[in-house]
Amino acid sequence: MIRAFHVTKRYGSITALRDVNVQIRPGEFVFLTGASGAGKTTFLRMLYRGELPTSGQLIVDGRNVATLGRREVPKFRRRIGLIFQDARLIDDRSSLENIAFVGRVLGLARGESRRRGMELLKLTGMDHRAELYPAQLSAGEKQRVGLARALMSAPVLLLADEPTGNLDPDTAIEMLRIFRAINRRGTTVVLATHDPDMIAALGCRTLVVEGGRLRSLDRPSEQDVS
């Protein structure tokens, strides 16, 4: 699903990521961890072509992100589901409208978009909040709506940047359970977090970013990632 060959990302004289070599197989659940500013978000941004590598090759879903044409980027992103720490919901739309909008972008009719949006809200346990606006939702509820939105395009890859960062432990565990369920359906999940408990609880492969370098730990202990 993801293959990085000697990927380096520089911002002027600062090197955010250095000579990254990694492979993530389809259907895998991978944690991405590291201290704040270590380069986790930079790596994730490159995966959905929010940033371009300075050098090296990055292949995502069979496409070299560096050579994607301007018009190809939207289609490429429709294969990837994105979840952010702050959910990034559109304020003037209800939960359902936020999700249905993705369906409309994909070319679905309004009714079909709403029907599928409602199904996804049920999946994330948010169907009872379908008509509420982001300002009326708690942080955890926003994240669930964000997750439902990310699933609208039936993505092959789910990228989550600190999705539980603003959540209380119980809600975080519930979110993690939903991520795991989605992964079991075959979707590749890359979840950035600096919560060692969460990583230890699942015991999945973990990519640790340190000083711009990335190393892979197969079944890390809490000590490995703390």
């Binding site: 018009r71 939207p74 994105l82 972008v105 609208m152 395009s153």
Partner: protein, 303 residues
């Protein structure tokens, strides 16, 4: 529904949503566009009505033969004989000085009082001559006017086309001023729309970025703002028409015809459907171009 139709529907819905949710930001651009379209529409209305008068006069094919104050009865009879003999003349009617004064009073009620102040009626007797329909060309009118004007006892002869010519010149000037003024205000409206769209884009950058991250193409993101500009223009056009129609109806209902003077003889009518279409189209194009300017050179960039 086909994919392209869904795309257009999505852009229109998004644009409508944008206008509604940001109505306070949109309102100034809408007002500026509406005012410019009202100005343009007012000039179109005036020019169209004057044109209607002109075509009415053209179809009438009339000329006036004014008698000299000292014209004798013999000269009068000679003129009548000449008019009866001229093949191009369909009919003629003598208007005595008293009737001329009465007509003047009826047409210009305020100026009519001036006549009462004078010791003598200064208006001469005249003949209102109608040229036969098939011969109503400028050449025939000129020739007949010239021949009648040289008869003894005739002070002068004048045909409507002279007045029409002068009026046409006036209407052309009116159109020019209208186009210049309307064009200037529309240009200002375009710039205002462009700035409003820019402000809206900057205010919604996060939303736009989110739209792009979920896979919205640039066509959807930019198209929605272009449609938004066009819709704003269309809305401004509709509002301008409402203002014009209200002013027109109010004017017709409440203005005293006597106080209109010369205007009271005009067969007033509101803008024709083609003009209404042109006005709405002007609004849409203004909004669309204004919106395009927001994304044009020096405009908003997403990458």
């Amino acid at each position: 529904m086909r994919r392209s139709a869904r795309f257009v529907t999505l852009c229109v819905e998004e644009a409508g949503r944008g206008i509604w949710f940001h109505r306070r930001v949109v309102a100034p651009a809408l007002v500026v566009m509406m005012v410019s379209l009202v100005v343009l529409g007012a000039f179109m209305l005036a020019s169209d009505n004057l044109n209607a008068v002109l075509s009415g006069w053209r179809e009438r094919g009339q000329l006036q033969v004014f008698l000299a104050q000292d014209a004798t009865d013999t000269q009068h009879q000679l003129i009548v004989a000449e008019l009866s003999r001229t093949a191009a003349v369909e009919e003629f009617r003598y208007i005595g000085p008293e009737e001329a004064a009465a007509l003047f009073r009826a047409d210009f009620s305020e100026l009519g009082e001036v006549l009462s102040l004078l010791e003598e009626n200064p208006l001469p007797g005249s003949f209102a001559v109608t040229i036969a329909a098939p011969m109503r060309s400028e050449r025939v009118l000129q020739q007949v006017t010239s021949e009648l004007g040289e008869l003894p006892g005739v002070e002068g002869a004048q045909y409507d086309l002279e007045i029409i010519g002068r009026l046409e010149l006036g209407i052309r000037a009116l159109r020019f001023i209208g186009a210049l003024l309307g064009g200037t205000v529309l240009l200002a409206a375009m710039v205002t729309t462009a700035n409003v769209i820019r402000v809206m884009v900057f205010a919604r950058r996060r939303e736009i970025e989110t739209m792009r991250l979920v896979g919205a193409s640039e066509a959807v993101v930019v198209g929605r703002f272009l449609v938004e500009g066009g819709l704003q223009g269309l809305l401004a056009g509709v509002l301008a028409l409402i203002v014009l129609l209200t002013a027109y109806s109010f004017g017709l209902a409440y203005l005293d015809p006597d106080s209109l003077g010369f205007l009271s003889i005009l067969p007033l009518r509101f803008l024709r459907p083609t003009m209404i279409g042109a006005l709405l189209l002007s609004g849409m194009v203004t909004g669309l171009v204004g919106s395009w300017l927001a994304f044009g050179p020096g405009g908003v960039r997403f990458d």
